[in-house]
Assembly symmetry: C2
Homo-oligomer: 221 residues x 2
């Protein structure tokens, strides 16, 4: 939950997550040369309700025209502004194993403005090697390299056993935003934003669904 502008409004996490979805749909609509889009159409494309879409957007302003809908390009720009996507973020990746390697090549990140600028590993065989044009640095120099490269967001893709130690150093370097792929709950100070990407969780949800309810009720957003 985030307090915006002077603490007047409260924006829920779900709303922010849905903004990401709207942004994605608007990008598609823009390519399809739509000029305007209704909350109904926007909702349909992400399996939400029109009221939900309108309410979400209303927290940030009045972007639509009654009787017409929302201007596609303009709304996309506005949501981009809200989410901070109309700029480039300097990202560091720690750990180039399985997951880390995949993330380096994940074009979706770059498209959204997340530029992986530095990569760290502790494996001497990997240090100095190239991943998509980015040289792998020694994690020994973590703090200094994070500062020198003006890193704003750190992605953790190391084994769970060492993740907490590394995060402690990352926090020491003054980083305020961390995306964690290691399957454990990391401890960070209250002024650091931490998000977890838990890939097993979704599979476990499917497992639960298959086991317990062969009765419809398919997509859970």
């Amino acid at each position: 939950m985030v307090a915006v502008a002077g603490g007047r409004k409260k924006i829920s996490e779900s709303t922010i997550r849905r903004l990401s979805l709207y942004y994605r749909v608007l990008s598609v609509l823009e390519k399809e040369n739509y000029q305007t889009v209704s909350s109904r159409e926007l909702a349909k494309r992400e399996k939400l309700t029109p009221a939900q879409v309108r309410k979400d957007l209303s927290f940030f302003g009045s972007f639509g025209t009654r009787g017409l809908g929302y201007p596609v390009s303009e709304l996309k720009k506005q949501i981009g502004e809200i989410l901070g996507l109309n700029r480039v973020w300097n990202v560091a990746l720690i750990g180039v194993g399985n997951i880390g390697s995949a993330l380096v090549g994940y074009k979706e990140f770059l498209r959204q403005g997340f530029r992986i600028k530095v990569i760290f590993d502790n494996d001497q065989r990997k240090i100095g090697s190239n991943h998509k044009g980015i040289k792998v640095s020694d994690i020994q120099n973590l703090e200094q390299d994070l500062r020198e490269n003006n890193i704003e967001i750190v992605v953790i893709a190391v084994p769970a056993t060492v993740a907490q130690y590394i995060v402690d150093d990352v926090v020491k370097a003054g980083i305020k935003a961390i995306l964690n792929f290691a399957p454990l709950n990391l401890k960070v100070p209250p002024d650091v934003f931490l998000r977890n990407e838990n890939m097993s969780m979704e599979l476990e949800y499917l497992s639960f669904a298959l086991k317990n309810l062969q009765d419809g009720k398919g997509t859970i957003k």
Copy 2:
């Protein structure tokens, strides 16, 4: 929200996601040789509240002892039972690009009982090659191979442009559970469970959080 066998209780998605967390913590506690654990301790380890933990578990039964807490191994087993983790699920992976390759080597999946049994791709250079001991099959034989291998869960790791076509075939083959890594909203019939893994979304959340922080427009609680 899901109706459980018998349709009496409604279990929320959040509860099921937290069961995954409890399961993870219990695995750690088991290794640390804890015999019992209180809701307080369990909550602390995943930044939740004791009441939340007790309420979640109460939907499925009474697993604890008043005055004592929950038996670690037993509770782990029970939650495993609820989530369907006390068995092996046959999983097929479609697409061995960036993300797909990472998933093949992701040990966490196997540890939880998700065994990638078949891999598909449409790239002739990849077909027939080996990924961690699993031969890559031609996607032409998708329907037949899914059936012959008794696949229950399909993981989609192909580009967004082709994902819907592939999912249509997957559904035709009778698959009822799909985990989608492609950044779009797939259409599936209501009796098919679909979960999305949207890695950009978490980064966008961080971007939003940082932006609002930097603008002096508030803080996350």
